[in-house]
Every structure is written in structure tokens, then in C-alpha cells.
Symmetry: C2
Subunit: 170 residues, 2 copies
Amino acid sequence: MTSETHPNAVAETAPVGFQEHDHQTCVKTALVSAEGRCKEEGLRLTPVRRKVLEMLLQEHRALGAYAILDRLRDEGFGSQPPVAYRALDFLVQNGFVHKIERLNAFVACSHPGASHSPAFMICRKCDAVAEAQSASAKGVLGAAARAAGFEIERTVVEAEGLCPDCTEKA
Amino acid sequence: MTSETHPNAVAETAPVGFQEHDHQTCVKTALVSAEGRCKEEGLRLTPVRRKVLEMLLQEHRALGAYAILDRLRDEGFGSQPPVAYRALDFLVQNGFVHKIERLNAFVACSHPGASHSPAFMICRKCDAVAEAQSASAKGVLGAAARAAGFEIERTVVEAEGLCPDCTEKA
DNA sequence: CTTGTCATGTTATTTCATATCATGTATTGC
DNA sequence: GCAATACATGATATGAAATAACATGACAAG
């Protein structure tokens, strides 16, 4: 399967936190900021990695690894799964991208640089994804973990439901 | 977020994982309780479904669908993926089993019947899984969701880290 | 120049999940 | 009881996500 049909394409007006915004600027800013951080920290934002990040910023919604791979192929990059997965690993590792476990898909980070314990809202209808802060490790779960002697290293917090748009339509 | 000034939130959250307990009894009890609830609600706890639930209760950790399938085959049930997935669907749908998104695996519910917004602690070393209550929809995330007009239907809360046992060994 | 490191390319395979159609088995309503 | 219906299962095939293993290239440090 190499064709990625765009089922419920969310048009050009992509939602961050389900809101309209100047998307081109937001993409550009994020890319520049990423480049900056990489330079600072001696990370190598290579062409593949940069492209993947750009794609995810552009889309502003979750993309599966194979959808990304298709686009990479179209742009003349390698077209085998590891190409995409390695780029994604790098981006996730360094906080530029998050994996949405519920969807087995990836989304560009909306708060680059910020201290990261992200939470997501995922629309089950249009697949739009909004990022918020979770800090859930400090709440009930954190307490339970301490009580149990469990050492939290990372948390996945994902809320599934209906975004404002889809709620209206229903 | 939900701060430590509300300790009562924690009281009910006995973390059922990572602890010794009378396992045979716990399995039996859970099975009986499940049977009861199915009878009450007119659900059909068929042999495959019962077996899958029993297996998951027995293991007391997350099992992948194909691991379950292998065991089903050994017990003389059908051995094709849909057999396992259908049983799992039923069990998840009705709250007897939870899917751990992070692991693409399934675990028996530890609080059968209880109001369900589960949270999990997953040991990255031994794959042990403990269930707690999350209530995360009421914390920061809930606030963010309300602000954004997002309607939460279900939440995935999974903490990854080291369980007490594995922490000791390290 | 050679050694080491990191990134990429490529092949193959494993693991997770679902669509589809055929068949069987319980209820239910007559 | 018995047919009609709904629900459950069996079986085949395929889709989709992820990784193992090995080879090559690019580049900096010694």
C-alpha cells in the first residue's frame, strides 16, 4: 500500500488546540526554533529528519509512519520503513515530535522546548490532535506510584473524544 | 493540577499491582464476579471469552493478542487472529479487560465493576502492569478540554517506569 | 590514512490488526 | 416444536506497524 488517501482531510485550516491560526508562520517558526535547539545542543537535524519534522508541522495532525514514508519517497528520500522510523525516533527522543500511542501515529510538538509531560486530545472523528500539559505524574497517579514504589519515567496521557467542530456537526 | 492538598483522592486508589496476594482466589473471584455481571446484563460470557479472561487474570500482566491466540490454540479453540481479537473486543467493551496502548497488549481489569477511568503503571523491564484510578479527566486535562470545547469520552493514562522489584535490582 | 562514530540504505521478517465470507448455535416469537 | 433472527465462531487473506540484521557512506579525531 503506497497511496495515502487523505480520508477526512481537514482542509488547509489546521487546528492547533482546535483553533485557526497562521499556519505557514507557525511551521516556519517551529522549524527555525528546532534548528536553533539542534545547533545549541549539537544535534544533527539532517535532511530526512528535517523533512519529517516539516511534514508533521505542516499537517498538524497525527500521521502514521507509513504515510510519512510515502511522502519521503515522493521527495526522493529512502523509502523503506527504517528510514522513517529512525527519523521519528530522533525527533521523538529530542522532544520535537510526540507519538500518539492510541493511533500508532506521530504529531509535531506544539510546545517545543517546554518542559515535557504532554497530554493529548484526539478527535475520534477527524483525527485532529491538540496538545496540552499533563503534569499527571504529580497528581493522583503520582501519589499512587509513590505509594506502590513505582518510579515513573514517562507518562502517556491521551483523551479521546469529539473536537469542537465535530461536536457541532453532530 | 490536582495538588497534594487533596489527599483523599488517593485513598481509594489501592495499587493492585506489584504486590503479593492470593492469586488463585483473586482469579476465581474475578471470574465469578464477571459471570455474575454478564448474567445481570444479558451478556454472553462464552467459552472463548471466558478462557481469555481467565488467562489474563491468571497471568496478571499484559499479554499480546498473539500470545493469547497461542494459548487458545493449545486449549483447542480457533487459532486465527479474529478469534482472539473478537473475544478481546467483547471483554474490553464491557470493562473486564483493558488494552495497554503503549504495549499493544491486554490486561485483566483489577477493579471490576468500579467506575472506570483506569490508569496504568507499566514496568519497562519486566512488563508488570498495575492498575490505579486516574480521574485525569478532572484535572488539568479536563480543564484544558473544557476550555477548548473538546468532549472527552475516554482517556488513556499510562505511566512507564520501573516497578519496585526492578528498581531494587538496579 | 585509518579508526571510530553516526546516519542512511536495503532486505527480510515479525508483530499487531481487520475485512470478508461461510458456518454454526442460541434465543425469540409464532 | 420450529422457523426466523441475531449473535458467535471458523477460516482465509491481507493490511498496517515495527524491528532485526547487515551493508554503505560521510565525516571528524587521532
